[in-house]
Point group: C2
Chain length 156, copies 2
Amino acid sequence: MAVEIERKFLPAGDGWRGLAAGTHYVQGYLAADRACTVRVRLAGASAFLTVKGHGDGLARPEFEYPIPATDAAQLLDLCPLPLVEKTRFRIPLNGLVWEVDEFAGNNSGLVLIEVELASPDQPLEKPDWVGEEVSTDPRYSNAMLARYPYWTWAGS
Amino acid sequence: MAVEIERKFLPAGDGWRGLAAGTHYVQGYLAADRACTVRVRLAGASAFLTVKGHGDGLARPEFEYPIPATDAAQLLDLCPLPLVEKTRFRIPLNGLVWEVDEFAGNNSGLVLIEVELASPDQPLEKPDWVGEEVSTDPRYSNAMLARYPYWTWAGS
């Protein structure tokens, strides 16, 4: 088991564009309830089956297993629709990796930026294209975006 | 992906005892709904994360991945209680492997016998300790036994 400690932000402008090549992600959820999420992710030519528990604050237990991409395609067929589609840009900067997710499909128009930390209180020097923090807003979890896509957030 | 083709029986007597050494299994379900089940299984010193879809009749799509036993112990903590506990006796006979599951805990008193086949219509020579077939009785799926354990079947 790993512990995932992650902070999440909205972008401030698009200064992140062009800093990294993107990888196409398709993911779905075999389970997404109070106790855990079970995610199937096809990431370019790689694929993963990932179980995340619910942790305290920014930290969550995470169990990730690489699986054959052909399995992932079939497992995605077992997931409720819609699937979450996005392009991920991994941008290394000062010892951290900023992951910019530009969503597509039902979440088109949404860009989220995540950064994984070694501890919840690790000091963070944000690049100027990183804006408002949304770490504690449940709408921005990918499991919630599968169920309540961005385009349904009318008026928000 | 594999396709699991399985028939399931109640025992007829205990002629199966002593034919094989048993392995202790503990398993739980991260998901168990109409689309799929996600099972965590600790089998002796081995452990597996398994996704099963719902197939037609006796055949189900199955995706099984070995995982570290230490992960399995932590993943079982994320599963709803009660967990399913049993001792499995694997008995090879005429080219088939009969798996006798003697349940414990909340399913104590229940013995189920499973056999995996290459095709649903494969001819089957049953040993005399194999009794009534319950392949299509949903109560006997392990995912259902987790939710509605054998001891709750009062009067059945």
